[in-house]
């Protein structure tokens, strides 16, 4: 089990533009930590830095585990599922099992795969091509692929976006169950405050250069601060829109 996740003074920039600046975060094991903030705030960038896909210019990320290397499960924000390569859900989930070099799965791996498919209720989708699944089913398949690796830390990047309320609840209930059963620590990016209120223990609110952490009440009940953080990015969007309209491109802009 994970002992702690600690991020100190993280700084990430792309082409000289600072996306994350002096971000610090302390996550206790077994927590569900929500990350909220407007588009472009750097939320996905933060998760990718934790995964090691992005190398920060400055700062450190400490993940420590008892007696082993921590395993991170990740459900990315976007994933290209090629309709031309229709592999079935079962095979897609078992792709996550890479801890052995034998080409065929061991009895233990088969058992784990089966358990995880029951757990995520994907067993009846086993033979369906992933490209043909609904949004909610797909997210559960992605979650199952992350879970077969027995992660200590689970990173979910907008996994409930574009799902109907039922499917959202179903997905989050699964994540919560994983926390209870295996003590997984979860960082999840989510735009739905209702979901955050229902499932998060802690929140990181972020926008460019401004970060605030706290428990659910202290963040979500501070209407003024939320409005401030989300409004500023909303204003940018409006200005942008007016800009394109005044330049005489409104027709082509709206037809796109």
């Amino acid at each position: 089990m994970l002992r702690r996740v600690q991020i100190n003074d993280l700084q990430v920039s792309f082409n000289g533009e600072e996306i994350l600046k002096d971000l610090s975060l302390d996550v206790s094991p077994g927590q569900m930590y929500a990350i909220i903030g407007p588009n472009g705030a750097g939320k996905s960038t933060l998760l990718k830095s934790i995964l090691g896909l992005i190398h920060p210019q400055h700062g450190e990320i400490v993940l420590s585990c008892d007696q082993k290397k921590p395993v991170i499960g990740y459900v990315p924000q976007s994933r290209v599922i090629d309709d031309d390569m229709p592999i079935c859900a079962r095979d897609f989930i078992s792709l996550g099992q890479v801890s052995s070099f034998f080409p065929w799965p061991s009895r233990r791996e088969k058992r784990i795969l089966h358990e995880m498919m029951i757990f995520t209720d994907t067993d009846r989708l086993a033979k369906k091509p992933v490209g043909k699944l609904s949004g909610g089913e797909r997210q559960r398949v992605f979650l199952a692929q992350a879970l077969v690796r027995h992660p200590d830390l689970l990173l979910l990047d907008e996994s409930t976006a574009n799902l109907d309320p039922d499917a959202q609840t179903r997905m989050m209930e699964l994540v919560k169950k994983a926390v209870h059963e295996w003590g997984v620590t979860v960082l999840f990016i989510c735009h739905d405050f209702q979901m955050v209120r229902a499932y998060a223990d802690h929140i990181l609110l972020m926008t460019r250069g401004y970060y605030k952490t706290g428990d659910v009440q202290s963040i979500l009940d501070d209407q003024a601060m939320l409005k401030n953080v989300f409004q500023s990015s909303f204003d940018e969007g409006v200005t942008h829109h007016e800009g394109s309209a005044s330049s005489g491109l409104s027709v082509s802009a709206s037809s796109r």
Binding site: Y74, I87, D91, F92, L95, P103, K127
Partner: protein, 269 residues
């Protein structure tokens, strides 16, 4: 027909090569590398022509050129290679070089034909051993790297997130493709390597959604096509390659019909 040594040799060599091409093809298709495979086979043609011109073992020339070629592709970045026009430039350049070497070496038209279209009759025992060794090497490497390669080929985002060294997997696979291409060119010719490596795999994915199923079916189609080609070629004297490609193409088009029918059934259910 098995009373002839050359037919025995052709069957052994053809079967081994078909299995190898069938397996590797599934990953070529999954990684959208068909055109890279096509290019590497033309680079192989240049290599074999160079070997003939320089008077060295054709396999050495083939391996040298295709391995260097695949490292080059890896350096340029496979992603860009899939769409970019540079692919046609390299392919044409390889073809041009091959023609140059053939003319410089004053190579007979017979040999050029073999290089391009393949020849199944000239396989001696030593060639067989070479083919056994190389196909075994490729198959063992594919087995050892199976899980990583499978993950990276079918879900690159997931593989990267799981911490797999996707860059090395990509380069390793290109090198294996080069080796497989080199040995296959000697039998089926530079122009048809590509079809044996991609058509059975492209057909297989129309029949099944399981990765292991695709691998089995793809090699089965490849093997049957080679057998069909050898037998038909023996009795009709028409080119073996034609029958091989025809068989693969038919299984592909039947696959499309089957796939459509299944889709319709799924839609009704």
């Amino acid at each position: 027909m098995f009373q002839y040594d050359f037919m025995q040799h052709a069957f052994i060599a053809g079967t081994l090569i078909a299995i190898m091409c069938g397996v590797i093809g599934v990953f070529i298709i999954a990684r959208s590398l068909s055109f890279v495979a096509h290019t590497i086979s033309h680079i192989g043609f240049a290599g074999a022509a160079f070997a003939a011109y320089a008077g060295i073992d054709p396999l050495v020339g083939l391996l040298a050129f295709t391995l260097a070629g695949s490292v080059g592709v890896g350096q340029m970045g496979v992603r860009m290679f899939r769409r970019d026009a540079s692919i046609s430039v390299i392919l044409s350049l390889a073809l041009g070089l091959g023609i140059l070497f053939l003319s410089l070496g004053n190579i007979q038209g017979n040999y050029s034909r073999t290089l391009l279209f393949g020849s199944v009759v000239g396989i001696d025992l030593q060639d067989i051993w070479q083919i056994v060794a190389i196909t075994l090497f490729v198959l063992i490497a594919l087995c050892a790297g199976y899980r990583w390669l499978k993950f990276d080929s079918f879900d690159q985002v997931g593989a990267q997130a799981a911490g797999l060294p996707i860059r090395w997997i990509s380069i390793g696979f290109l090198l294996l493709m080069a080796v497989a291409t080199s040995v296959t060119i000697q039998i089926v010719g530079a122009l048809l390597v590509f079809s044996l490596m991609t058509v059975p795999a492209a057909a297989a994915r129309l029949y099944t959604q399981s990765i292991f199923g695709m691998i089995l079916l793809s090699s089965l189609i490849a093997v049957l096509s080679v057998w069909f080609g050898l037998v038909s070629g023996y009795y009709t004297n028409a080119p073996v390659s034609f029958f091989i490609v025809a068989f693969d193409a038919v299984s592909y088009f039947l696959g499309i019909i089957y796939h459509r029918l299944m889709e319709r059934r799924r839609a009704v259910a």
